[in-house]
């Protein structure tokens, strides 16, 4: 079965808020060096969802083209629509959504479709796919393992970015509890 990414090397999904905030800062040195110190060299990745969400910020056709060129030059895009991956990612994301909804109800309302899809991807490639985000409430413990976080000043505000990976043991534990409680689950 073909893979969206090769499984030997490290990849990090930059979600939409991360791409946006780095775009504002204009310099990703502190973030990238911190991450490299944690996990070594990596490829900065976006998904088609991130591309869509970032490009809709454009106010004109000219801006759209500049944003599009920026994403193309700066990030590698994972192909989510390959036939081999589509069903698998959908299943992984849906199960993740069910566990978040019923096992961690306070977190569910923070988590949107893009986050579930990204979570499904992390679940698909737990060894070497990570996620970089400024939405630190959207990836609950114990499903996601927080590997590193730092604060960074963006204009006058202090914000926190975090690096996550999927925690299979934590997820499986919740998933098994969820299945036992469910009357019917497919």
């Amino acid at each position: 079965m073909s893979q969206a990414i090769s499984i030997e090397k490290n990849w990090i999904i930059f979600d939409t808020c991360t791409v946006s905030k780095i775009s504002i800062i204009g310099n990703a040195t502190s973030i990238i060096e911190s991450i490299s110190n944690q996990i070594g060299p990596f490829t900065a990745v976006i998904t088609p969802l991130v591309r869509f969400e970032f490009l809709r910020k454009a106010n004109s056709k000219s801006e759209f083209e500049k944003f599009r060129d920026y994403l193309t030059k700066t990030y590698t895009e994972i192909d989510l629509v390959s036939k081999e991956d589509r069903y698998d990612i959908h299943r992984l994301s849906s199960e993740l959504a069910c566990v978040c909804r019923y096992a961690i109800p306070n977190h569910y309302k923070h988590i949107d479709m893009t986050d579930f899809i990204h979570g499904g991807l992390l679940r698909r490639y737990p060894r070497n796919l990570f996620l970089l985000t400024f939405d630190i409430n959207d990836f609950p413990d114990p499903i996601f393992e927080l590997l590193h976080h730092e604060s960074i000043k963006i204009n006058k505000n202090l914000e926190i970015w975090a690096l996550y990976k999927f925690n299979k043991g934590g997820f499986d534990n919740l998933y098994n509890k969820f299945k036992k409680r469910s009357r019917k689950f497919n």
């Binding site: 073909s2 893979q3 969206a4 990414i5 090769s6 090397k9 990849w11 939409t16 808020c17 946006s20 905030k21 780095i22 775009s23 504002i24 800062i25 204009g26 310099n27 990703a28 040195t29 990238i32 060096e33 490299s36 060299p41 990596f42 490829t43 900065a44 990745v45 969400e53 970032f54 910020k57 106010n59 801006e63 500049k66 944003f67 920026y70 193309t72 030059k73 700066t74 990030y75 590698t76 895009e77 994972i78 192909d79 390959s82 036939k83 081999e84 923070h110 949107d112 479709m113 893009t114 400024f134 939405d135 959207d138 963006i154 204009n155 505000n157």
Partner: protein, 53 residues
């Protein structure tokens, strides 16, 4: 340099370690656009979740 040039569907995405200099050079261009528009800057600061904008 494009990272997303057309490739066959069954090929995995090419692994290319982040080149910090190139990354910052590209990002600086976009940053100038954001900084020149204070309204957009404030909107981005206030909304962590891009899906609720």
């Amino acid at each position: 340099m494009s990272n997303t040039k057309k490739r066959k569907k069954k090929e995995p995405a090419p692994w290319k370690p982040v080149n910090l200099e190139e990354f910052n050079k590209n990002t600086k261009v976009i940053s100038e656009m954001f900084k020149s528009d204070p309204k957009r800057l404030n909107e981005s600061q206030n909304n962590n979740d891009d899906n609720t904008e």
